[in-house]
Amino acid sequence: MRVTNMVPDIEYSMQQSQQALATAEMQVATGLRVNRPSDDPAAAANDTVSLAASANVDQFTSNVDALLPQLQTADSAISQVTSALNTAITLGTQGANGSITAAQRSSIATEVAGALTTVIAQANASYSGVYLFGGSASSTPPFVAASSTYNSVNGSAAHPLSASTALTAGSVTTISDAQTGDTFTFTAKAGDTIGALQTALATAVSAGTLTAGTTATINSSGHLSIATNSSTAGIVVSSNDAVLGSMSAASGTAVANTYAYVGNSTVNTAQVGDTLTVATNVAGNNLFTTGSNVIGALTGLISALQNNETSVQIGAATTAVSTALSSIGQQRVPLDNSISEMNSQESYLGQETVTLTTQQDNLVGANMAVAATNLAQAQTQNQAVLAVAAKVMPQTLLNYLSQPSA
C-alpha cells in the first residue's frame, strides 16, 4: 500500500491515547468507574435504585436514633409507676392492719396520695415536648384533674343559652369521665342545637360511656352546665364551639385524687425497616385507666384509708392496686419489645448500610489497583505515541536531499 501522509493516522492515535489517558485519570481521581450514565448504563441505573435503598436505611437509622430515647423515657416512666405502686401496696398492707388508728390511716392515705401524684407525673411524662401516653393527642398532658362541674363561658342571666341554641357546625365537645375512663365526643352537625348535645349525652350515660348522673343543663346564670353527681369521680370537659365559648371547671368542684384521660387510643407508628414498624407511643388509657386501672385502684385505696374502712375493705383496695401492678407489667411488654427490636434493628441497619455501600462500590466504583495499572499503561502508551510522532513527522526525503554536499 502506498503511504502518502502519516499525519492523520498519528493524529488519530494521539486522540485515542489521550482519551484512554483521560478516562484512566478520571477513574483514579474520582475513585469511580462510572462517572456518567453512559460509562455503564445498566450499572448507573441500578446504582440509583441502590442509592434510594441507602437513603431509606439512613432514614431508618435516624428514626431508631430519634425513637429509642423517646421509648426509653416511656419505659423508665412506667418503671417509676411500678415502684410507686409497690410503695402503695406496702402502705395499703400497713393500713389494713386492724390495730392502727384512724389518724394513722389518714396519714397513710396522704402517703398513698403522694404515690398517686408520682404516677400522674409519670403518666404525663413528655419527651421533647411530646406527651408519651396521650395517644396521638400528644401536645397536651393526657391526664387532667377532674371536677364535678364544667360551665360554658358564654351565656348570661339576661341572655341565657337554651336547648334551642344552635351550635357551630363541625365544633367538637368532649367529656372525659374519670370513673368510666371513657371519653364522650360530640361533633356538631349543621342544624344541631344544645338540645341535640343534651340528647347525645343522655344516650352516652345509658351506654355507660359516662357515669350515671352526668347531665347537661342550663344553670341559673344562663350557662350550659355539664356536671356529674358522683362524689368520687369527676369529669373533664372541653369544647371548641364558639357559641359555648369553651368550657371551664366551676371553682370549688374539683374532685380530689381523680383524673380524667383526655388523650385518645391512637397508636402512632414509625418505619425502622423495610418491613418493620414500631409503635412510637402508648395510649395512656390502656396503661392507667380502662386497661390496668392504676389511677382508679390508687384512688380507691386512698378513699378506703381516709374513710377508715374495715381491714377487709382496705385489704381489698390494696389487692386492686396489686392487680393494677401486674396488669401494667403486662401492658409494658409491647413497649419493651419495641425497644429491644429497635436495638437489634440498629445493628441490622448498620450491616445493611455496609452491604449497600459494597453494592454501590461494585456497581460504579473503580477497582483502584486496576485503575492505577490502567493509568500507568495509558501514560506509557501516550508517551510511546508521542515519541513515534516526534520520530516520524520530520522524516522526509527533502531532509536528506538538502544536506550540504561535501
Binding site: 462517572n35 445498566a42 407508628t269
Partner: protein, 459 residues
C-alpha cells in the same frame, strides 16, 4: 534514415514531456495539503515510430496530458461513513449535554425523591413537629424543581436541535445548488478531454458531495449528465444541471418538519448525517425521554395527591393536593409544583387528630408500590437513567466506530489519490534529470549542426 532535424524534434518532445512532468509535480506539491485534492500524474506515450523500410526507428515521446488518480468505490464508502459519523456526532453532542441532569448528584430526581420519602419517614417519629413538616414541604419543592429542571434541559435541547434542522436544510440547499452547477461544466470538460478524469472540477464537486454527506444520507449515481443525487427515500436533490431545494415547516408541536420540493414530508426518512442525527435525537431520543419523565412526574404527583386526600391535615380537614399537576401527561414534568405551602396542611393524620401519623405509612407505600406504569418510582427513574446512558453510550460507540473506519478509508483513498511529498521530490529529480538530458541532446545536435554547417568553409 534519421536526420538531425528529426533528432532535434525528438529532443524537443522529450523536453516537453519533462516539462509536463515538472508541471504535474509542481501542482501536486502545491496541493499536497488541499482538502479534496486528487493527485495527478503525467500521461506520456511513445510516439508511433516511422517505418523506414529497413528498420523501425523510435520517434521519441508524446506528452498526452495529466490525469487525476481516483478510486470511486472508496470515495462512495467515505461518503456513507461520513453520513453515519455526523449523525452519531450530532446525537452525541446533544445527549452529552443532557447526561449531567440524570447523573447522580445532590439535586437529581432520584436523590430528591429519596429525600422526600426520608423526610416523611422522619416526620413519623414526631408528627406534630412543624420543623419536620416544613422539611417535607421543602423536599417536595426540591423534587418538583428537579423535575422542572430535567424537563427544561430536555426541551431546550430540543429547541436547539430544531434550529439545527433549519440550518442544515439551508446548507443542503446551498450545496446541492453548487453541485448541480458543476455538472454541465464537468460533462463538457470530460467530452473535450478524455484523459484528465475530471480534474480540478471533479475534485471540487466531490468535496461538495462529501460536505453534503456530512449533512444527510444521500444516494449518488453517475449519469451522462453528471452526478445525480437523491435522499435516502429517493427524493431527488440534484439531476443534471438542476437542483431541488428542501424546505422546512413548523408542525403543530413546534418541531420543524423537512419537506421535499413537492411539499411531501420526508422528515422520518432522514436517518443519518447531521440532519438525520439531529432529527432522530430531537424526536426519538429526547422525545422518548420526555414522555417517560412526564409520565413519572404525573403518576407520582397523582399518587401523592390521592394519599393526601385520604388523610387529614393538622386542622382535622381532609388533605388538599400535595402537588399541582397538569391534567395532561405531556407537560407534567415542566408543570409540577407544590400545591400546599403551609406545613399544617400536610395530611399526616389518618383519624383527624393533629398528632396522628397514620397516613404517613400510605405516603411511604408510594415508594414501594408500582405506579400505573407498572414500575415503582425509583425503578421508573432508573429506567430513564438507563435510557440516557444507553443512548449516549451508543452514540459514542457509533461515533468512535465510524471515526476509526473513516481513518482507515481515508488511508485507503490517500494510498491511491494522496500526494506523497517524498514521491514528488523523487519525481522532481527524475524530471529535472530528464530535462537536463534532453537539453544536452539539443545542445549536442546544435554542435553537430554547427559542425555540419562549417564543413563548406575550409579553414
Amino acid at each position: 534514415m534519421a536526420s538531425l532535424t528529426s533528432a532535434l524534434s525528438i529532443a524537443m518532445q522529450a523536453l516537453q514531456a519533462a516539462d509536463g512532468g515538472l508541471q504535474v509535480t509542481n501542482n501536486n506539491i502545491s496541493n499536497a495539503n488541499t482538502p479534496g485534492y486528487t493527485r495527478q500524474q503525467v500521461v506520456l506515450q511513445e510516439t508511433t515510430p516511422a517505418d523506414n523500410g529497413d528498420f523501425v526507428a523510435g520517434e521519441g515521446v508524446t506528452f498526452v496530458g495529466y490525469q487525476s488518480v481516483r478510486d470511486e468505490l472508496v470515495m462512495a464508502q467515505i461518503q456513507s461513513q461520513t453520513s453515519a459519523q455526523s449523525g452519531a456526532n450530532a446525537s452525541l453532542a446533544s445527549l452529552q449535554q443532557i447526561q449531567p441532569t440524570f447523573t447522580t448528584s445532590t439535586t437529581d430526581i432520584g436523590t430528591e425523591m429519596s429525600a422526600l420519602f426520608s423526610s416523611l419517614s422522619s416526620l413519623a417519629t414526631d408528627p406534630t413537629s412543624s420543623a419536620s413538616r416544613q422539611a417535607v414541604l421543602t423536599a417536595g419543592q426540591n423534587l418538583a424543581t428537579a423535575f422542572n429542571t430535567a424537563s427544561s434541559t430536555l426541551t431546550s435541547q430540543q429547541a436547539t436541535l430544531n434550529t439545527q434542522v433549519s440550518q442544515d436544510v439551508t446548507q443542503i440547499n446551498q450545496l446541492t445548488q453548487q453541485i448541480a452547477a458543476l455538472n454541465p461544466e464537468i460533462v463538457e470538460q470530460n467530452a473535450n478531454n478524455t484523459v484528465e478524469n475530471g480534474g480540478a472540477l471533479q475534485d471540487q464537486q466531490n468535496q461538495l458531495i462529501q460536505q453534503l454527506s456530512a449533512l444527510t444520507n444521500v444516494a449518488i449515481t453517475q449519469t451522462n449528465n453528471g452526478v445525480t443525487i437523491s435522499t435516502g427515500n429517493g427524493t431527488a436533490l440534484v439531476v443534471g444541471p438542476q437542483s431541488f431545494a428542501l424546505q422546512t415547516s413548523a408542525g403543530s408541536n413546534g418541531a420543524e418538519a423537512v419537506l421535499d420540493s413537492n411539499g411531501n414530508d420526508i422528515t422520518k426518512t432522514l436517518t443519518s448525517g447531521d440532519l438525520g442525527g439531529t432529527i432522530q435525537t430531537r424526536d426519538q431520543a429526547i422525545g422518548g425521554l420526555l414522555t417517560q419523565l412526564n409520565t413519572l412526574a404525573n403518576q407520582f404527583a397523582n399518587a401523592f395527591n390521592s394519599v393526601q386526600a385520604s388523610g387529614y391535615d393538622q386542622n382535622g380537614k381532609p388533605g388538599q393536593n400535595f402537588f399541582t399537576i397538569p391534567s395532561a401527561v405531556s407537560g407534567s414534568a415542566a408543570g409540577i409544583q407544590m400545591n400546599i405551602t403551609d406545613p399544617a396542611l400536610l395530611a399526616a393524620s389518618s383519624d383527624g387528630t393533629a398528632g396522628s401519623d397514620g397516613n404517613l405509612a400510605n405516603f411511604a407505600a408510594v415508594q414501594k408500590n408500582a405506579l400505573p406504569s407498572g414500575q415503582t418510582p425509583a425503578d421508573a427513574y432508573s429506567s430513564i437513567v438507563y435510557q440516557v446512558g444507553s443512548l449516549t453510550a451508543n452514540a459514542n460507540a457509533e461515533s468512535s466506530g465510524t471515526t476509526a473506519s473513516l481513518t482507515q478509508l481515508n488511508d485507503q483513498l490517500n494510498s491511491v489519490s494522496g500526494v506523497s511529498i517524498d514521491e514528488e521530490s523523487a519525481n522532481l529529480i527524475t524530471y529535472q534529470n530528464a530535462y537536463e538530458a534532453a537539453a544536452r541532446v539539443i545542445s549536442t545536435i546544435q554542435a553537430l549542426m554547427t559542425a555540419t554547417m562549417s564543413m563548406d568553409t575550409p579553414g
